[in-house]
Amino acid sequence: MKISNYLACPECDLLLQRVFPAVNEKAHCPRCHYLLHRPRIQSITRTFALSLAGLFLLLPANLLPIVSIKILENTHDGTLLSGSVTLFNEGMWAVAVVVFLASIFFPMLSIILSLLISGHLYFHRPNRYLSVWLRTLQHIDEWAMLEVYLLGIIVACVKLASMAELKFGLGLTAFVLLLWVALMLASNFDSVLFWQRIEQLNVHEKK
């Protein structure tokens, strides 16, 4: 029995013959229906292009005002960063850190790691940190919560709409674009392929 011809389902441990689904086909575990593999068209190229686009959106999305509020002739801008800064200054440092990590740090790190990994794979450059980067990327994935944050913006705006005048800024556009890039990255990402390529590159380098 050759081990590389088999795979195990991560959620029910069923041992399976390796399957090679075509692009846009799905391979499910027959026992627990876990999605084992869904190959995407040009996963590496698209990840590279999308993370490059995300890189340019990071600064405007984080620093430009998302919403401005006007109460009694006082105008106040809210950026992605100002929420955690205000919380921190009010002494709610634990909440501030969680908000900062989930809305700024992890989305940023995941774009940068995607760029590093896909860039190395796209140009066939081996790097001994590739697997560390991909492992980190897989772990922080669920902690980047841009889409939840967008829902938070919507709820906050609905709450404020009755008592104040709201104006949406350029930051919101950048933020929504960044969210779109993050979602596209997630749906184009083919971890099976990425791990295979990393293994090939590393084996090649050792020879």
């Binding site: 081990i3 590389s4 088999y6 795979l7 195990a8 991560p10 959620e11 029910c12 441990d13 069923l14 041992l15 026992r31 627990c32 229906h33 876990y34 509020i69 109460i71 009694l72 006082n74 106040h76 809210g78 950026t79 929420g83 955690s84 800064v85 205000t86 919380l87 009010e90 709610m92 634990a94 909440v95 501030a96 969680v98 908000v99 989930a102 809305s103 697997s131 991909l134 492992r135 897989q138 669920e142 902690w143 919560m145 939840v148 944050y149 829902l151 938070g152 913006i153 709820v155 906050a156 609905v158 709450k159 404020l160 104040a164 971890s191 099976v192 791990w195 990393i198 293994e199 590393n202």
Partner: protein, 205 residues
């Protein structure tokens, strides 16, 4: 017991990080040859870790719901809101859809996670014979919805930074915000440390 169709029964283990199979006991320190991470047939101490995180989550769920999550000050008059109070206020101001959204994200989802994970742990501990496919689906739902509870925390962080005009109008985050954020983070870690393969391991057929 016929369960010889699992990787574990065949003396194999799957790398948690990259999915590569390896033979159990084949290398002295079990390290994945592809990605360099430590290998285990099951997530190490999955039951104990999940239980510890879950109990902490239950404990913090109480202050998260009893204490005010934010205080809204208008013209010097402060009005503290609990999570439930905030939802009631939304209903009174005729914003029912948003109220339902907050109800689902801040009350139902954390409860579903705490109770669902408890059920999963009970199932594994008492070796309940269940429809494992259905219970694995329960686990997937718990793992998926967890992050959406952060909605309330994000909303507060936006309100706090926007409504910041001293005595005229100000929103201040309350102590329940810390407890609630901790519940969300703890239950996310709990879901992550639970190994769904344990459900399949305890089934006899």
């Amino acid at each position: 017991m016929k369960k010889n169709n699992t990787a574990l029964a065949q003396g194999l283990m799957r790398c948690h990080e990259c999915g590569k199979l390896a033979q159990i006991r084949s290398t002295a320190p079990p390290i994945c040859t592809r990605c360099g991470s430590h290998l285990h047939a099951r997530l190490p101490h999955s039951f104990q870790r999940t239980l510890a995180l879950l109990l902490s989550g239950f404990a913090l769920y109480i202050p998260a719901n009893l204490f005010p999550i934010m205080t809204v000050t208008k013209l010097g008059v402060g009005e503290p809101h609990t999570i439930l109070g905030g939802i009631v206020a939304l209903i009174h101001s005729d914003m029912l859809p948003i109220a339902m959204l907050v109800l689902v994200a801040s009350i139902l989802v954390p409860l579903l996670k705490l109770l669902g994970l408890s059920l999963l742990l009970l199932c594994v501990h008492f070796r309940w014979q269940v429809n494992a496919k259905l219970w694995t689906r329960l686990y997937r739902i718990i793992a998926f919805v967890g992050r959406w509870s952060m909605l309330d925390i994000f909303m507060i962080s936006i309100l706090v930074s926007l409504v910041n005009l001293g005595g005229v109008a100000q929103v201040i985050a309350g102590s329940a915000a810390t407890a609630f954020a901790a519940v969300v983070v703890l239950t996310m870690f709990a879901a992550k440390s639970f190994d769904p393969r344990l459900i399949w391991d305890v089934q006899n057929d």
